[in-house]
């Protein structure tokens, strides 16, 4: 099983193919609905360095504050990605992201964006909140916490051997399209349609 260190360059990302199982180690950022809208309303210079050449994780975590004031991710599974479809390709382009982590896959616009910018869509295991929280040993800082609240804020986190599957690659490949086409053919066969 391959290990991918973050930040990561375009060449290494382009080597990833649909169906690869990868473990991530290094720094990335979280962001969901409010974050994506905010990232496109303006060029957010302060978060730029935390997004360049790394990944954005579609996650609304449960976060606890420790006595020393530091943060701890308590539950951190992926949320459904397709809601960010209108923004994702542009966010990738503007901030130099190398990819996205989420669940359920994304649409044609994002797939084209991955190809254009050299990025991938990584699928985490939906519902695996405890396993994934354990793979996030450190929270470095947070953006927009007061404005967006805990689940919607942009958390800069360090992950260690965070397990994901490449389900959309930078060559136009999509595991979701493949599985859907295969199951469609089988359904038609079973129903005689």
């Amino acid at each position: 099983m391959a290990e991918l260190k973050l930040p990561v360059g375009e060449e290494e990302i382009r080597r990833l193919k649909v169906g690869d199982f990868v473990e991530l180690t290094g720094r990335m950022i979280t962001g969901r609905d409010a974050a994506h809208k905010w990232l496109m309303e303006d060029v957010r210079q302060d978060v730029m360095p935390f997004m360049k050449d790394t990944l954005i994780y579609h996650c609304g975590p449960v976060v606890a504050k420790r006595d020393d004031g530091s943060w701890d991710f308590v539950a951190a599974g992926p949320t459904t990605s397709i809601r960010e479809e209108p923004y994702q390709a542009d966010v990738i382009g503007r901030y130099g992201l190398r990819g996205v982590i989420g669940k359920g896959g994304m649409g044609a616009k994002t797939l084209a964006g991955l190809k254009e910018h050299g990025a991938v869509y990584l699928h985490a295991i939906g519902g695996a909140a405890q396993v994934l929280a354990r793979a996030i040993p450190k929270v470095e800082r947070v953006f927009m916490l007061d404005e967006f609240g805990v689940p919607e804020a942009l958390w800069v986190i360090h992950v260690e051997r965070f397990p994901v599957v490449v389900s959309m690659d930078s060559h136009g490949g999509s595991l979701h399209d493949e599985v859907e086409a295969g199951s469609m053919a089988k359904l038609k066969e079973l129903l005689g349609l």
């Binding site: 199982f21 449960v62 939906g126 519902g127 909140a129």
Partner: protein, 294 residues
């Protein structure tokens, strides 16, 4: 049996059990699914992570999934028990369980978009009461996650596109289509609760009630038992697999209930329960003592 005293603590424990552990039969079905997948393939890995996650949640008493769902509850009670009091206790228990982080604050005011913060709200938790002859109260609950709720479906037969008529063959066609439409999006492998007949209200309730049944049981109606088995087998031939990664484990079980219908209506209603098939049950005797049911 009129006053059983406060049941808040019992209900908090019921919620804790459901949120932080899976019933043994669901765990077994996930293990069986993993054993049937190709070694080191994506499906096997996904199920491995899921099982590891359940184990971690159980040992630390933490929620299995951060979406702790909607509590959907069925309460049977003897004559004379105050259902209003039980409902109030349950709502208090939801708030307390949210404070103790067994539940995430999971109720959003639909008009303002603001989270109520307490875990309860208009219509949440969802409680059903039924009177029965036994001298005890029985409470059965599922925690129903949002991602899987979004892939539920209701079909109106006949359906020309699916060539589904008003018979069990039509039901089979509609349900298989629902599994295809859901792909991995409801956090497959899931459990299907199906209701044939009823109206748009009663049918969804009946389909959810099916989720309470054990993973392995036999439907008392032989035609439905046969249909459940067939749909399960065929759904697992679709190749959707855990998380929609492809594989043999698309569903863990199919459970079908039936309600009578109006001449003009023939609904097939499908509730999709994710792999985090969280449920718990308790029996409360006349003295208010709780016995945990599996």
């Amino acid at each position: 049996m009129t006053d059983v005293g406060s049941q808040v603590e019992t209900f908090v424990e019921l919620i804790r059990r459901a949120s932080t552990d899976l019933p043994a039969d669901v765990n077994r079905a996930l293990e069986k699914g993993r054993a049937g997948e190709t070694k080191d393939g994506l499906a096997e890995r996904a199920l491995g992570t899921i099982l590891e996650n359940v184990e971690l949640a159980r040992s630390t008493s933490a929620p299995i999934c951060q979406d702790t769902g909607t509590p959907v509850v069925w309460i049977h009670h003897p004559v004379g028990v105050s259902t209003r009091k039980l409902a109030a206790d349950f709502t208090t228990a939801v708030e307390e369980a949210t404070k103790r982080t067994y539940l995430r604050p999971n109720a959003v005011d639909t008009l303002t978009g603001r989270n109520t913060g307490t875990g309860h709200g208009r219509g949440i938790p969802f409680l059903h009461f039924e009177e029965w002859d036994e001298p005890r109260i029985e409470v059965r609950m599922i925690l129903k996650g949002g991602g899987s709720e979004n892939v539920g479906a209701q079909y109106k037969l006949p359906d020309g596109k699916l060539r589904a008529g008003r018979d069990l063959e039509g039901v089979r066609r509609a349900v298989l289509d629902a599994v295809f439409q859901a792909q991995g999006k409801g956090c497959a492998p899931g459990v299907l609760g199906v209701c044939i007949g009823g109206d748009r209200v009663s049918a969804y309730e009946m389909s959810k009630r099916q989720i309470l049944r054990p993973i392995v049981d036999t439907n008392p109606i032989p035609e439905l038992a046969e249909l459940e088995e067939r749909i399960l087998r065929e759904a697992n031939m679709l190749g959707v697999g855990p998380m929609g990664f492809g594989g043999r484990t698309t569903l863990l079980a199919v459970k079908i209930g039936v309600l009578d219908r109006l001449p003009a209506c023939y609904f097939v209603t499908v509730t999709y329960m994710c792999w985090a098939d969280r449920k718990a049950a308790v029996s409360i005797d006349a003295k208010g003592e709780a016995t945990w049911l599996s």
